[in-house]
Symmetry: C2
Subunit: 402 residues, 2 copies
């Protein structure tokens, strides 16, 4: 501020460092964790481990016994893993658990074992409790491994808005372990692929080719087809880290990783019981690709390829929420506030290349929504209805238009 | 962590800068604020101003009309100002207000006008809403000016623990204006002096002398006796800033500014309707001074002087909560967790000098509690009952011991 009154200025620098370790066996992940805990904690009180209610009991038991074998006593406490429970009430329940167990402010890191929602909830609680305590993430879903587990963000939904409440508070360590994927339902696997698909579209044509060639095998084998699988996870994870590191607190609001995150969040929250995050992201990617093609900035060939790879990966190609232009525009409007008054809409200018748009008009969204449905139908061979493993129908039959 | 698995490391640096501007007239404060808002906000939508319910209407009206005159349209929204309402529910109400008004993520700073509680509530909401939006503080109580308004902390009480939930999220600007003190009840003025007294005891013998010589006049004149008053505020504020700046995120848990904040918080929360924060701090300072004297590290003369200056400033010299050794020890225990397993108890080794203790024993607290009451009684001339302006009795008659 520019004036003549006396001022006191405070200038401080915070260095934030964290690490993601990539393992392929649960035994390896547990040993990395046990070693880390032992080195940081001489007293070795019991570690507080939050576990996603959705994680199969076999993994929980294996992990627990491995930790005990590694000399780490644990208290296991459940946290919800579904988007509908990513709310403040659950965050505060975690805070109260931390308080009840009397964890120390610096040397009693909590552990969270689970999908993205549980990581977000425990992360937000860890950032609030005593103004911040350390925690360690062990993501157990593909989405959590390549997205939530790399970022510095924590979050809860509020008032029907996705991640309306949150902080920047990265885990000191994240331990990725692909063995957890073995029990993942197919739909959850595809959900994670949604975020990888986004990154490939906007940033990484090599990753796009990998998905095109090995993506189906990757999904079917639950990431256990070691050669291609580990490469896909590695590349996705490193690409994400590359984008986040220079912009960790989002000083720059033009972010390519926001691709697929402009119209989708509003649809996802409206159909919260129906759509998974990665599905909403993929659908937004497709709509955005159509917008770019309509603008003459993405070739017809690239557009077709984007739809085709999405189809091959088992991603949804359409959803009724993307028929609701008002809903899509409310998403855009809220994201414009989030991007400080600018649309900053990332669009593809080719496979793996991005540009930003600030002059999107409502009629473009209407046009793109109609064309998206048409292309989706053609791509899916006239039938957009697809059943998922867990019997939820997320891609609906599209009525033919004349 | 030490192992052979592939890792991805993320290293980022955050620079945090903020400023405290010191004015003496509300017109000056409003003009600094209006200039700052105008320069940052070309569009000039209405600013969202949160106002402490305890702030006299005359100040609110004056401030509002000055802002309007300065070209800033405002929406005024009330927030509570009392410690009993420093709770998550109120924080979330502020988040919802921010969402309702659609403030932008970066260029729509909210303003909060009020005492420490309102600053804490709005600060925590600002740090949570969209993972952080900027805000500007205008502290209107002495305590908020010299303490809350200088720090980077935000907070809410939870589960009966003081500041159990919070974040580090400093206001981009804090505008101090001593004219707000003119209407402050005497007890609130003394409350702020409690934090200044703490800083003087542990860090600044010159400030201690200032309080000794001009402290009473400072309280009686509501900080309007310009020479001594401005000097006391300035020195307190700069001393606090000096301690915080190199340790903004509390990487170092040995903090001299924790003086008076070890036993007091537990007592304050138990008697939340009864004791103000600065009163609890001052009482903790006195107990701690007795502990140090009992250890032979603070002279009898210095100890007597500490009690005498506290008495002269109108600070409480005793409270029944400091008779409850179990309560005092529960405070120590919780602060030991907060200081990561170490007591890190700051004690005086003379006026303005500190040392840290990690071997305090329960019997020392018992002994100090008894002696504190005796010295308090002698200092107060046998009668520890004192009525405050607002008719709350906070210093109780002490029963004679034989």
């Amino acid at each position: 501020m520019d004036h003549d009154f006396p001022t006191v200025a405070i200038n401080a620098t915070q260095i934030v460092s964290y690490e993601i370790t990539v393992t392929s066996r649960i035994a390896e992940a547990a040993s990395v964790l046990a070693d880390g805990l032992a080195s940081g904690n001489e007293g070795m009180e019991k570690a507080l481990v939050f576990v996603d209610t959705g994680l199969p009991q076999q993994h929980v038991e294996k992990f627990r016994s491995l930790l005990v074998k590694g000399g780490v006593g644990c208290n296991f406490v459940e946290v919800p893993g579904d988007e509908e429970n990513k709310v403040l009430k659950e965050v505060i329940a975690v805070v109260e658990t931390m308080n009840r167990y009397g964890i120390k402010r610096r040397s009693s890191p909590c552990i969270v074992l689970g999908g993205g929602v549980s990581l977000d909830i425990v992360g937000l609680a860890a950032s609030l409790y005593r103004r911040g305590v350390p925690f360690i993430r062990v993501p157990t879903t593909l989405l959590a491994m390549v997205d939530v587990g790399v970022a510095a963000k924590t979050a809860a939904n509020h008032l029907g808005f996705r991640n309306r409440i949150g902080t920047f508070h990265p885990a000191s360590n994240t331990i990725v372990c692909s063995e957890f994927l073995t029990t993942l339902p197919r739909r959850q696997m595809v959900n994670g692929v949604g975020e990888i698909f986004k990154l490939a579209c906007i940033k990484d044509s090599v990753l796009f080719s990998l998905l095109e060639e090995a993506g189906e095998r990757f999904v079917e084998s639950r990431g256990q087809d070691v050669a291609g699988a580990q490469q896909i996870i590695d590349r996705a994870l490193r690409g994400m880290a590359q984008e986040l590191e220079p912009n960790l607190w989002e000083a720059n609001l033009k972010r390519v990783v926001d691709y697929g995150h402009t119209f989708g969040p509003a649809v996802e929250m409206r159909y919260i019981a129906d759509l998974l995050h990665g599905e909403a992201v993929a659908l937004d990617c497709l709509l955005s690709a159509v917008i770019s093609n309509n603008r003459g900035r993405l070739s017809d060939g690239d557009l077709a390829q984007v739809f085709m790879v999405a189809a091959r990966l088992g991603l949804p190609l359409f959803h009724k929420g993307f028929d609701d232009v008002e809903l899509l525009l409310s998403g855009l409007q809220d994201m414009t506030i989030h991007r400080d008054g600018n649309q900053n809409l990332p669009l593809m200018s080719g496979i793996g290349n991005a540009y930003f748009v600030n002059d999107l008009e409502p009629r473009e969204v209407t046009q793109a929504s109609i064309r998206m449905k048409e292309i989706a139908e053609v791509t899916a061979g006239g039938n957009l209805t697809r059943k998922h493993n867990d019997n939820e129908i997320i891609v609906e039959k599209v009525a033919r238009r004349d």
